[in-house]
């Protein structure tokens, strides 16, 4: 792009939509022709952020005709994910530095999200004064399509997995979707039950109808009844007008009843009737309505066990449990963790306008080993946390949430200096995992607890005072976590005493009380 041409164009923007990339003079006509010949979208703005030129590719990518774009604020036209929070053009206008190839998405007038990469530059007049900015953007839809095509082997709808159990589910989902039967999806929280429900709906002949989601566990019983079946005006104090229920809203589509195991026995009976013959009455109404919505249910509880305990109606269970999908927890499909990490990194890159390439090998190791009680949702939160903390191109251990148990050494990237140090770290990690219970730790390691003491006492423990036994000294780990003291253990105390150089047992053989407090290290033994 020729700066002088841009200068002439941006000096006199015409908000009424008369400005064209070509402008008036011959040079400006040339500039317009050049801009229109470029495959990338280009627009320029004046100092008021109003668009003064908009090339043909920009029209094609955004779906907005040039005459509608000119003179409008750039955010009304470009509608990018970063307009509000991290505008690339504003960044360039502020810093003077261009932005190169930042991956974002825009929203076209038809609601499609288009992935694009943007680059920006300043526009200056002949005196070097800033008079506006230029933004070029490249449509990455095709690249994205190809990437999805390649990744498609491991994905279905918005789900990703190469685990054989989940792959088996992917195989049957199209058939389940087409079958129109009631489906029960079981799995722990965060395993992706709603994604499966959406995939089933998307594969069904009702895919053009609505998918209405109801979280049965999030609402009290009376509210849930009104939510599901609707109510008539005057049915209760705040019912000022008729309100359709979710079953009515889901006509021609599907209704997804999440956490169905949480509904009360009374509501279970009403739900059974809907599942049996599709009929129900709104709260406060007398006329019977009919629902043709397909029901997809999900539960993080084992419904068959609930039936055995009498907490869930057996007849409703059999109505719901026509086809059951059991989603494995993430800890049983660790091979998916790297795939999911890549997926979330890409997701947050496009959401946050960042360019993070991935995670470091030690982070990958930590994440693969983690047990994920919160399943995939937890992994997503971990990556999101790391995105907030990370200012470089690679997520490192120090960017992870502290609860993952990343040691200070690991955060600082220090490797153990010796085999002994590595052994100490390993033993400490196992002790922490077992809540500092030495017996449980020894059992897990398959060694005698005295061996464990011998291996850990010298370097790990410090003396503290014990309540009710002011003359006695006991030991706690240096982290400050007290051990259980079911009875005095002379061996360990002696080991600690040896380590402290006293050469004497610090502990008597009386009963131990609660730990009063850490003395803060070896020197602490001299304190009162």
């Amino acid at each position: 792009m020729c700066p002088s041409d841009d200068d002439r164009r941006t000096k006199d923007p015409t908000p009424d939509g008369e400005a064209t990339p070509g402008g008036g003079g011959p040079l400006e006509h040339h500039a317009g022709a050049i801009l229109d010949s470029i495959a990338d979208g280009v627009f320029t703005v004046d100092g008021d952020w109003k668009i003064v030129s908009f090339n043909r590719a920009a029209e094609r990518i955004t779906g907005i005709p040039r005459d509608e774009a000119l003179g409008r604020h750039c955010w009304e036209v470009f509608r990018a994910s970063i307009c509000e929070s991290a505008c690339a053009l504003r960044e360039t206008m502020t810093s003077g530095e261009p932005v190169i190839d930042r991956s974002i998405y825009i929203v076209r007038a038809d609601g499609r999200r288009i992935p694009v990469s943007v680059s920006t530059a300043l526009l200056r007049d002949s005196n070097g004064e800033i008079i506006g900015g230029a933004e070029t953007f490249r449509d990455l839809s095709v690249v994205e399509e190809l990437r999805r095509e390649l990744a498609g082997r491991y994905s279905f709808a918005d789900m990703i997995s190469k685990n054989h159990v989940v792959q088996g589910i992917f195989d049957v989902l199209p058939d389940i979707g087409a079958s129109m039967t009631t489906v029960l999806i079981q799995g722990e929280s965060g395993t992706g039950k709603e994604l499966v429900a959406r995939a089933i709906h998307g594969e069904s002949p009702r895919k053009d109808g609505p998918l209405v989601v109801v979280n049965c566990g999030a609402l009290p019983d009376t509210l849930l009844e009104s939510e599901l079946f609707g109510h008539k005006a005057g049915a209760f104090t705040d019912a000022k007008k008729d309100r359709p229920g979710r079953f009515t809203l889901a006509q021609g589509g599907s209704v997804f009843l999440d956490e169905i195991g949480d509904i009360s026995p009374a509501l279970q009976a009403r739900l059974l009737r809907v599942l049996q013959d599709g009929s129900y009455e709104p709260l406060g109404g007398t006329a019977t309505l009919h629902s043709d919505a397909r029901v997809i249910a999900a539960s993080n509880k084992n419904l068959s066990e609930m039936v055995e305990r009498g907490d869930f109606r057996k007849d409703l269970f059999y109505r719901v449990n026509v086809v059951t999908i059991d989603l494995p927890p993430l800890r049983d499909r660790r091979e998916d963790v790297p795939l999911l990490i890549d997926h979330f990194v890409e997701h947050f890159n496009s959401l946050r306008g960042k360019e993070i390439g991935g995670v470091s090998p030690d982070v990958l190791e930590i994440l693969v080993r983690h047990d994920y009680p919160g399943n995939i949702r937890e992994l997503e939160n971990i990556i999101e946390h790391a995105f907030v903390m990370c200012r470089s191109r690679t997520i490192r251990a120090r960017h992870l949430p502290p609860y993952l148990g990343v040691t200070r050494e690991k955060r600082e990237g220090k490797e153990p200096a010796s085999l002994d140090e590595a052994e100490q770290r390993f033993l400490r990690a196992i002790l922490e995992r077992n809540g500092w219970n030495r017996a449980a730790t020894a059992r897990e390691l398959g060694i005698h607890k005295t061996t464990l003491w011998r291996k850990t006492a010298i370097t790990t423990f410090i003396p503290v005072r014990i309540r009710n036994h002011s003359t006695h000294t006991a030991i706690v780990p240096s982290s400050g976590h007290p051990f259980n003291f079911p009875r005095c253990n002379e061996l360990c105390v002696r080991s600690a005493a040896d380590a402290l150089g006293t050469g004497a047992a610090l502990c008597g053989h009386g009963p131990h009380g609660a730990v009063e407090g850490s003395m803060g290290g070896r020197e602490g033994r001299d304190r009162p």
């Binding site: 779906g63 005709p65 774009a69 076209r108 209405v212 019912a239 809203l249």
Partner: protein, 143 residues
Amino acid sequence: MTTLSRAHVMRVGIPWWGGRVSPVLDTAERLLVAEREDGEWVLGREVLLGRSSLPERAARIAGLGLDAIICGAISRPLAGLLESSGARVIPWISGTVEDVLNGFARGELGRKRYLMPGCCREQGRGRGRHRRRGGGSGRRAAE
């Protein structure tokens, strides 16, 4: 039966940014909830949407019990999530919040001056559900 009449309070949500309607609801960080009673806008409060995911965002907005959500651009997935939760969305609106709220009250949001570029919805046409609810509610509120 309880009458609606004058006691009815209308609640409208608008994602806002610098006094204007946010360009994209999918990434808007703040939502203004305006309440209209007896033909006047009486109360406004702000709800932080932050950088939540689309399902979280949809659940958050749907949970506010709004009569309508007036917004700028909105992606199909988010529009689908909001509509499936029963929310009424009036999309592709631009301008200052004050202007848009008054336009909504007068039932004029279908006019071109309120629409984002590239949106061809016209007065009395277009996506009936959105227009009808926006305009109809506004008129009723203005009475």
